[in-house]
């Protein structure tokens, strides 16, 4: 991991883990505390937006920081490569495993061993969906933030087909 070594200061990875996991818990706590006029779904939605926004900011700031020392990238495919190979490992520890595109502006990226999911017990069906959904918003926001910095207002749909894999569909706007 190139970036890790370039920068002199570091902190314990465990601290970062604790922070991220507690962030997800906090979002749930906050959404439960909101006024009761909202329905359950709307409350959940708020917590998710909260996480999505944080991811977005992190993606944006990190990209800007890294771009200081490198050439600008323009093409969408190159931007996606940059995300998979350089940005993803910084936050999520490993490169993304697979990058596919239909050449019409939709990309599908897969992380076969998403680190948040790697420690969850196996679950299936709705139970799994319930566990994994809150954790998908931070990375989706992150991807959106990165793309936003390059000037692409993309749409991201995330899902967890089975633990510990994670799939993101990234749709670029039509040119």
């Amino acid at each position: 991991m190139i970036v890790h070594q370039q920068l002199p200061m570091s902190v314990n990875l465990a601290s970062f883990d604790f922070l991220l996991i507690e962030m997800v818990h906090m979002a749930r706590r906050l959404s439960e505390k909101q006024e009761t006029a909202l329905s359950n779904d709307e409350q959940m939605e708020r917590g998710y937006t909260f996480l999505e926004n944080i991811g977005f900011q992190v993606g944006r700031k990190l990209t800007e920081r890294l771009l200081l020392t490198r050439n600008r990238i323009v093409e969408s495919i190159d931007v996606m490569r940059f995300l998979c190979r350089e940005l993803w490992p910084i936050v999520f520890r490993k490169q993304l495993d697979n990058l596919k595109t239909n050449r019409k502006g939709t990309f599908v990226i897969t992380d076969n061993y998403f680190f948040w999911f790697s420690k969850m017990t196996a679950a299936t069906g709705t139970e799994m969906k319930e566990y994994t959904t809150p954790y998908l918003y931070f990375p989706s926001g992150f991807i959106r933030g990165v793309m936003h910095t390059f000037g692409y207002p993309v749409h991201v749909i995330a899902q967890c087909p089975n633990l510990p894999a994670c799939i993101f569909q990234v749709r670029f706007p039509a040119p």
């Binding site: 922070l19 906050l30 909260f50 926004n53």
Partner: protein
Amino acid sequence: MSKSKVGEDVYKKVEKVNAELFVLTYGSIVAQLCRDMNYEYVNEELEKMGYNIGIRLIEDFLARTEWHRCVDFRETAETVAKVGFKMFLNVTPMITDWSEDDQTFTLTLDDNPLAEFVELPVEARSQLWYSNILCGVIRGALEMVQMDVEAYFIRDILRGDEHTDMKVHLKQILKEEIPAGDD
């Protein structure tokens, strides 16, 4: 072996993450909280986050350091600063200002890793304790080893003060109790 040596040794062994990423993630969380609620509430929420982290973090601490029980609160303070902070955040705050009864001390966090690159908006300066999560972590972690403490910031460089100081006060030693229905 001295405490700082233990802290350094453990830190050398653990996996690490780029400090900038850590800082900007924490910054984004605080910023998002501030957008959604008032500062007083943000302080409280950060403390609560810290507390929840602290009660889990102590396990990691004990597992990695195999630390013994501290003889008094002075030793606890040293352990928190030289082993705990070093091991998790790669800094060692200074301990100053012991009260006469040895129950209260001040942690001076001048190179606070959370506050790197941060500048607070003017209206937040008198209200927000940006690094309040640390108070919660200390409270949570020490509670798990039977110490009921109170931790709060009294000064912060981000607010224009000369130092970043946190007061930690030992309220009482909790009795060891067997959890209900667990005998």
